[in-house]
Symmetry: D3
């Protein structure tokens, strides 16, 4: 457990590259801070889904959220554009290998790897909810930056209202409502 | 949900005051980044407990971890010493009121309040594991700072090996092992 | 004297929480930097008052300004909203106790405590002028941030032009003119 | 008054260059934060002098302390070494001219200029006490950095114990005691 | 060579003072980062000049660009306004002396000094192209800051389109086109 | 040219990931600042080589140095460890594609691509000297951090004295002397 405890500390320092490349100052948002936002958002989304009758394993949602960016201690936080150069498959393989190396020797390494793989392939409802939470926390952070004076973040909002994150039914509604509320709030600035 | 999504963004910027007061530069660790460390650490601890036969609700552990510092969006992160001046009870009441105001109107506000109260009173095993994770992530962060050259953090290590966080049996062992591993690692620097 | 010399260094690192919670980056304004602004502003206000015939002890004004936030080395800089949760009386008592602990053993500890208490109770003209300087430096800092691109600081300007800081006569005029000049300058942006 | 209120805000952002050139991170200490340290230190020194029977105008001490670096809004904070290239006289003339431009049109501009000139020429006891406070706050900041892990600041301590800042009698004793306490504290690290 | 290798590291930390004085956060742009921008811009300009038939020594352009701010390891980065107080001649003499001290004992110290002097006096086409690159990188950085939300940088754009940097013919065209493209891009924001 | 002028600005903000992952604060060294260090170091190395009779095209050295990390505006600065997960070939192909996209449409795009490819394959003496400069600036930066108090950077020094960067003869000697001087300087700390 010690090695993971120490390695996760790196995420507290590692900047989310996307903001830096758009002119936000160093330290604007760490990967760890974003992961916290994703996990808390995922909890709120999943609880709302459950309240509307969707069968969702909230504990699994939270596990996936906490693990989904952990490999960035070794790969760094690569900007979106980099995927165009490496290819989606190469990126996924590299992230999976790094994740496995981090967890090697931990109790539950196999279970953690299964959760990570689920996220990468968006196989389960829980994985898709985390992906939605990842997108929603990104928008909420972008809105917070914009409210504080940032400009040039418009591209993050393009098409946001139409994304369905491969969700259906009430889960889809919950996510769309959250995104719509953010888009609406932004339009009032 | 919108108001919580936006309010949590503040924790990504808010510095952990304890480090700043000891000379770490601004931005050293945000409250959100620490909360991420606590949640991931709590998951590792709880899973290890479960593997050793302890009956623990890991989902509840993760919920408590994600919520336990949320009120700092309104109270700020007060240094340890401040408790000597306000008193433990006044602090708890203020944090509870701020937390309730944040969640007011959310689906599940009552359930979230119950989890927060559990943490404050350390009523459940799950709450105590989160408190242990809070202490362990603090030590891991201190060690990471020390490895990078920081000095003057010795007080955080005093008595660390003896704290039992009101835990018993295998849960106590799991936590003690994690703390001992950190203390041991530090002694090799 | 040594302990005070060392303890005051903490204020150079401690961020003013209000800015951070509104999206300014870590390091935007330290408590020490603000205290400098308050002291220099208070000198300008008091000298202007004296030039208009107000009997004011400028030395006392400067002493109060330099001491008024010193206790934050132990309490941290709590955001405005926190007062709603702790109550004004609890806050004042805590700050007074922290201040006394810092100065304990110093030559003049009793005199410093009297100045601090004066500020907290706004008993003297000098204390009220420092409170006005505190508000004016806040507005000047807000305007500087806004000129550099910050948004979302409008709440600091609400009602600013009407505040009289319990001042009367020429002192009140001097303060109102300074605030009006800032409000006017802002309206030209 | 408006122009001075706005211009002083720059000192809150301006880094003390000496630290940056020795590897401290940006934002380590602003000129405004240092000026606060100097002013508070000067008050403590002057009050101690008065308690020992030295006739000193503490109000004048505080005025000089608050004004002594104000011109850096226009000249920047030049490192020590630069004086070797510009010459002491050229530096003083430039700083004086910048200071006068800042204050031009203020009530009391002439009085402020007289205080600034006093500091530059160390003509009065009050000016010399501020210079001593300037040196003492520098050492206290260096010690705080060293306690937090900084290295390479040894040159600031060379000869520190022997400097007398052109002071005599009890004033000299007060300053020497403060410096000696810092040097002693450092030797215990 | 060792002393230069170590001394140049300081430029990576040293902030460009002009941005800080206009409200950008510490760390917005280092002198080293700016020098990189100038050198790359100078290469692009010089290559374009060569493509249009201008006889230009690109290697000399790059050498001048890399050396032109090196003396700031000792003088710091002084704001524009400071020149009004020291005088252009005093500034040039100080920078020249600092530069010579840095390079003293290096292989090629005389050649580097000649390049530095060329830049200061804008004697050659190559020196003038570097000065143009210095101005163009400043505008590109200003535009990047403005796109990210900064305000209050308008003064840098005043008269920009008319500056000819003492260039003639195709070199002048190349520089004017680059500036015009930046001005045009800015007007679309 | 406009698009390159704007895109290069991103490198002034982008942190060198290796430092961040080892605990240095955000903003410790930007990619642009490092590239400046590499270019200036490469100039010193190449001039020393020429002085010892090595036939080297210094202009080509400087061009390669300025271009060698430019693609990081799109790929980010990936930590060393990431190469273990993507593979050296995939990394090179991605970097090459990103570089070509940045330069597409520029005068001299083909020539710039040739220089970039030269660096990636270390085909020429000039490319190898830039690689050596890249390693030497890394060590000089590490030493500067260590002198300022950083710890945990020992791995960068392992085997440093033995690396020959595929250089021979006098060029190899020049590089070895520079590295040896850094190693020696470090051992005196």
């Amino acid at each position: 457990m010690l090695s993971v405890l120490l390695e996760l500390q790196r995420l507290k320092r590692l900047d989310r590259t996307g903001w830096v490349l758009r002119g936000l100052p160093p330290g604007a948002e760490s990967v760890a801070a974003h992961s916290y936002g994703v996990a808390l958002t995922a909890m709120l989304l999943a609880d709302e889904c459950a309240a509307r009758g969707v069968g969702v394993d909230v504990g699994r949602v939270l596990r996936i959220a906490l693990l989904h960016d952990l490999q960035e201690t070794r790969t760094g936080d690569m900007p979106r554009t980099v995927a165009d150069y490496y290819g989606k498959e190469a990126r996924r393989a590299a992230e999976r290998a790094a994740f496995d190396d981090i967890m090697r020797g931990s109790t539950g390494a196999a279970a953690y790897a299964e959760l990570h793989e689920d996220y990468e392939s968006r196989a389960s409802l829980e994985a898709r909810l985390v992906k939605a939470a990842d997108g929603i926390d990104l928008l909420a952070q972008a809105l917070a930056f914009e409210r504080a004076g940032s400009r040039g973040l418009g591209e993050f909002w393009e098409g946001a209202a139409e994304r369905d994150f491969q969700l259906e039914g009430a889960a889809r509604e919950v996510v769309r409502e959250a995104v719509a509320a953010l888009v609406d709030e932004r339009s009032r600035q």
